[in-house]
């Protein structure tokens, strides 16, 4: 049993200058065989292992990660959490996740700094107004908190927004989900890793998958840089590299991997106490607890695995930020980075079995996977353990691209890309 983090353990460890904290997770050598191997040690993969161990009582699990845990998109996103999606299937999926977020720190005994500061989406033209109103109604029918705000109400909720009618894309209104907010992204990966490790999951870092071995239609194991690992079930949560893993197994997925950029400013005093997103001008912004503005930009339209991105994307985003918030005109940006996001044609994820027995994919989260981390892990664990989907992720199967039953969230659900 790991020592519980508490005010008392903090005081106790202060006496030894915080040099004797127990390691949050081990650094094991891979065993020869596991019951289940999860590929990808980001939030989704670690959460999957955690729920497999906790809810399905499977302990012989490994998570293999080519770099370090949480070093991919988990550590590269803008940490926005919300569930105001248009379609019933998406609303169910993302609100399931949001409900887990609300008690996650207590469950993991790890402060994920979940802050329900609200997410506001802006409307800039008549079509935006209609779409946002429609989505607000759809959200409320699904039991998700959503309100439509007039321009004056937007200004009242976030006074620094420029609501002048004279700007290029004037603010005509907006929606607000108050239960939405942000969380500390690293802490989510670390909290799940610590919890999974405690239940006996092996978290194997610096272990890149090089091949997937199968006998006909049955999974036999995987080749890694730390040797061959035998297993009958593989769950892939490899985000931007999902297609690379799929190609190893001889599968094709309906994904395109593109760079998505974000940037942070120098830290300043609290100025914006919510998250504001705008689809039309493509900029979103919040403020971290350190005081930095966290700004999300768009994706490039070409496939790339470079974790960079084009400057014209950043330029467009900052143009929009400056017009909406003239107060930021002299801010300096500290850092800019890219993450590789795997985008589905319908901008909805895939949590699904495949045509190969024992191979499961959790991918296609595109530009909005962070918010879904707990729910995604829970439902993917269910899918792997029972070899069939939970009712909340049944719509998000691979077969929808054959049947045509897509969950088309592109543009419909405040997806900014």
């Amino acid at each position: 049993m790991k020592n519980k983090y508490s005010i008392f353990s903090l005081i106790k460890n202060a006496f030894s200058y915080h040099e004797n904290w127990e390691k949050a997770w081990k650094d094991p050598v891979p065993k020869k065989e596991y019951e289940i191997v999860i590929i990808g040690g980001g939030g989704h993969g670690l959460a999957t292992a955690y729920y497999l161990a906790k809810k399905h009582n499977i302990k012989n699990i490994a998570v293999v990660e080519k770099g370090w845990i949480g070093g991919g998109n988990t550590g590269r996103n803008t940490t926005i959490i919300r569930s105001n999606y248009l379609w019933d299937a998406s609303a169910g999926l993302y609100d399931h996740s949001l409900k887990i977020w609300e008690s996650l720190s207590q469950e993991l005994n790890y402060n994920v700094m979940f802050s329900q500061r609200g997410v506001m989406n802006l409307a800039h033209n008549l079509q935006d107004v209609r779409d946002l109103k429609r989505r607000t109604h759809a959200n409320r029918l699904n039991g998700i908190d959503a309100v439509y705000l007039s321009t004056e109400e937007v200004k009242k909720f976030c006074p620094i927004i420029n609501t002048s009618p004279d700007i290029r894309y004037p603010v005509l209104g907006g929606t607000l989900q108050k239960r939405a907010g942000t969380a500390r992204h690293d802490a989510v990966a670390w909290g799940y890793a610590r919890g999974a490790d405690e239940m006996g999951v092996d978290i194997i870092q610096n272990c890149e998958v090089k091949g997937i071995k199968r006998n006909g239609n049955i999974i036999e194991g995987l080749e890694t840089t730390k040797g061959f690992i035998k297993t009958k079930k593989i769950g892939v949560a490899a985000a931007g590299h999902s297609s690379v893993i799929a190609n190893m197994a001889g599968l094709k997925l309906p994904l395109e991997s593109k760079p998505l950029q974000a940037l942070v400013s120098e830290p300043i005093k609290p100025i914006i106490d919510t998250v504001i997103m705008s689809n039309a001008v493509h900029a979103y912004v919040s403020q971290s607890d350190k005081g930095e503005l966290v700004i999300g930009a768009g994706t490039d339209d070409y496939i790339s695995y470079t974790q960079k991105g084009s400057h014209d994307i950043i330029e467009g985003t900052l143009n929009a930020i400056l017009e909406l918030y003239p107060i930021f005109s002299r801010m300096r940006m500290l850092r800019q980075w890219g993450g590789i996001v795997d985008i589905c044609p319908d901008a909805s994820p895939i949590i699904s079995k495949t045509s190969i027995n024992g191979l499961y994919f959790n991918c296609g989260w595109g530009t909005g996977g962070f918010k879904a981390t707990p729910g995604s892990g829970d439902l993917f664990a269910h899918t792997i353990a029972n070899d069939e989907p939970h009712k909340l992720n049944a719509a998000f199967n691979l077969n929808r691209f054959v049947s045509g039953d897509l969950v088309d969230e592109h543009g419909a659900a405040a997806v900014a890309h």
Partner: protein
């Protein structure tokens, strides 16, 4: 961010172009005879390669012509550019 050598206009910044995805996906001659699986394969399934990829681009802020490109998606290095209908060059 990179520079693309448009086969019609010469070297221009990438921001003048629109990426059109994987190249050499042939439209089925008889779409009505396809099974749902084959239709999904044509419409949605992509190689999404990390490495050398064949893809289509359009010079939308220039000549507006489509052309093909061979590019390494792991480092954005362009290996070759060739016109629509041409055989891909050996690289």
């Amino acid at each position: 961010m990179f520079v693309i050598n448009c086969p019609y206009c010469g070297e221009r910044e990438q921001s003048e172009f629109k990426a059109g995805g994987e190249a050499h996906i042939v439209r089925p001659k008889q779409p009505t005879e396809l099974s749902d699986d084959e239709w999904a394969e044509y419409l949605f399934m992509r190689k999404n390669i990390k490495g050398i990829q064949f893809e289509r681009w359009n010079h939308i802020h220039g000549c507006r012509k489509w052309f093909n490109m061979i590019r390494d998606t792991s480092n954005d290095e362009i290996k070759a550019v060739y016109k629509m209908g041409d055989e891909p060059p050996k690289i």
